[in-house]
Amino acid sequence: MLDVLDAFNIDLIRAGIRLGTPILLAALAGALCNRAGILNLALEGKMLMGAFLGIYLTYVVGNTYLGIILAILLGGLVGGIFALFYLKYEVNLILLALAFNLLALEITVYFMRTLFGNVGSWTDASIQRLPEINLFNTSSSDGFLNIFNNHNLIVYISWVIVVISYIILFKTPIGRHVRSIGENQEAAETLGINVAKVQVIVLIVAGMLCALAGAFLSVGHMTMFTRNISNGRGWRGVAAAIFGFQHPIGVFLASLFFGTADALSLRIQSVSDYPPSLVKLIPQFSTIFALTIVGLRAKFIVNFAKAKFRRSLNNQNNS
C-alpha cells in the first residue's frame, strides 16, 4: 500500500489544481446560490453548455478570449432565464434543473453533429487554447513555487474569483444581503431588501461561473468537445459547495481536495495495484461523510437541548 505514496509529488498537486478548477468554479456558483437560499442543481448542464458554446463561439469568431467571454455572457443569460422562471412563474427549480441537465447533454451533441458532421468529438486546428502563464519567472522545474506556477490562465482567474467572492460576500453590503436571504429571508424582506433582485443577480453570476468552468474544459487546457465532457464535475461542484460550507475558502480547499483525488486516481495505476476507481470515489465518500456529520450534529444539538431541559425539570421537582 505504501507504494501509493510514490504518486505524491509536485506533479500530482499541479494536476490536482488543474482538475479541480472547473469543480471550483461550479462550486463557487453553487455556494453563492445556496447562500441566497436557492438550491441550484443545474450546474452540470450549465457547465456543459458553457463548454460547447466556448469552443463553438471561439471557432466562429476566431479568437479564444472573445469566444469565452461570449460564452460567459450567454451563461449569464441562461442564469437570468432560470431566475425569471423561478421568481416570476414559480417553476419548481429542481425539476427545471434536472430537465435542463438532460437537455444540455443531448442538445450539445445534437448541434455538434448537425454542424460538424456525424462525429464523436470535435476540434479544429484553428482553435487556440488558452496559454499557461509563467507567473513567477522561474526556470527550474522543482521547488515549492513551481506548484503554483505555469498554470492555465483560467486557473489563475479562478483563484482571483475566489478572493473576490470572499471580499464581496463578507465585506460589502450586497454580500451581506445575499447571506441574510439564505439565513432568514424574512429578516431581509422586512428591512426593505429586494430579495428577488438579489436572487436574479446571484443566478446570473452563477450561470456565468459555470459557463467559464465549461469553457475551461473545452478550450482551456485542451481544445475539444465530446459528449458529456463535464462528466459529473457539475455534481462534484454541488458536493464541494456543501463540503466547503458555502465559504469561498472552504470551497477552494474542497475543490482542490476533489481535484487531487481525481489526479491521484489517474496516477495510481502506474505506481501500485490499488484500484484507481476507489481513489476516484474519495470525494464522493467524503461528501456523504460530511453530510452525515452535519446531520448528526444538528440532531445532537436538538437532543442535547432537550436533555438539558429535562434534567433541569427533574432538579426542580426533586428539590
Partner: protein, 353 residues
Amino acid sequence: MGNQNRKRLIRQFTIPLLAIICGLLLAAVLLLLADKSPSAAIQSIFRDAFSCSSFNNCNLFTTFSLATPLLLTGLSAVVAFRSGIFSIGQEGQMMLGAITAAYLGYWVSLPDNVHSIVIAIGAIIVGGIYGWFAGWLKIRLGINEIISTIILSEIIINFPFQNFIKIPFFARIENSAKFLVFAPGSKFGTGFVIAVSAVVLVYIYLWKSGKGYEQRMSGEAPRFAFFGGIKSEKAALRGMFISGGLAGLAGAIEVMGVHYRINQGFNLMNLGFDGLSVAILGLVHPIGVFIVGIFLAGIRMGAQLGLQFELGIPRELGGTIIGFMILFVAAEKLFQKLFDINLKELFRKKKNA
C-alpha cells in the same frame, strides 16, 4: 363525476400534451435550422419505432424491449416521489441489480426457472436495500435526498467491485438464468412481461392497498398523515425499498434478458435518468409511465434507426425532444398561469352572455 373534477382532469392531461406538442415543435424548429424536413423526421421516427413487418423483424418488439428498463426505472421514481422522496438514484440501484444478477447467474447453479426467479429476488433485495439506505439518510439525518442519491449512484457506478468479489465480467451467465425471449432478433421477452406486470402491481399497491395509501398520504400531506396516526417514516422507507427494488430488477433484466453478461464499465447512464423523464412526463402515475415509457423508447429507437441512418440527422434529436418535453412539464406552472387566465376569461364571457 363532478363538473369540477372533469375540469381538473382535463387540465392535468393538457399539461403533458402541451409539453409533448411544444417539444415536437421546438424540435421541428431545430430541424428547419439544419435544413432538414421536420415532417420527414417525425414520420421516420414513428415508422421505425412502431412498425412490424414480420415476427422476426419487428421494430415494435425492439421498442418494447427498450422500454422495459424505462418502465421499471420510471415506476421506481413514481413510487419514490409518491412517498415524498425525490430519489434520482435509479442508476446505482440498477447497477447493483445487474451485478447481483451477473454474480448469481454465473457462480450459482440452480434448475431452470428457479434460477432466474432467485436472481430476480436477489436483485430486488439488493437494489431495495440501497434505496432504503438513501431514505434512511434523509429521515434520520435530514440529508437532502437529491444530492445523496446522485452521489450514492456515482459511487456504485464507479466502484471496483471486482476487487472485492469475483464478478464474472464478459462471462455469459448460465442458460438457466436467462430469460425467455419471444422473438429472436429482438430482445422482447419475459423482461417486458415483468415490466408490464410491475406497472399493474404498482398501481394496485399505491391506489388499492392500505400500505400504498399510507405512502400516498405521507407524500402528499405529511402533517395530515401524522395527524391521522400514519407512521410516515416507516411508509417512506418502505417506499424507498420498493423503489430501489424496482430499479434493481431493471438492472437484473438487462443482464438476464438482453446482454446475458455484465461488462466492465457497464454503462447504464442514460437509462437511469430516462426513467426520471418517464416518471415526470407520465405525471408520476403508473399508467402514465406505461404510455410515456413506450413512447420514449420509440423515440429513442426511431431516432437511432430512422433519423441517423436514413436522414442523417443525429440521433441526439430524440434525446433533445425528450429534454424539451420535460422542460415544459417543469414549467407547468407557467402553462397553468397562462391557461388559468384563459379559463377565467372564458368564464367571465359565459357569465355575461
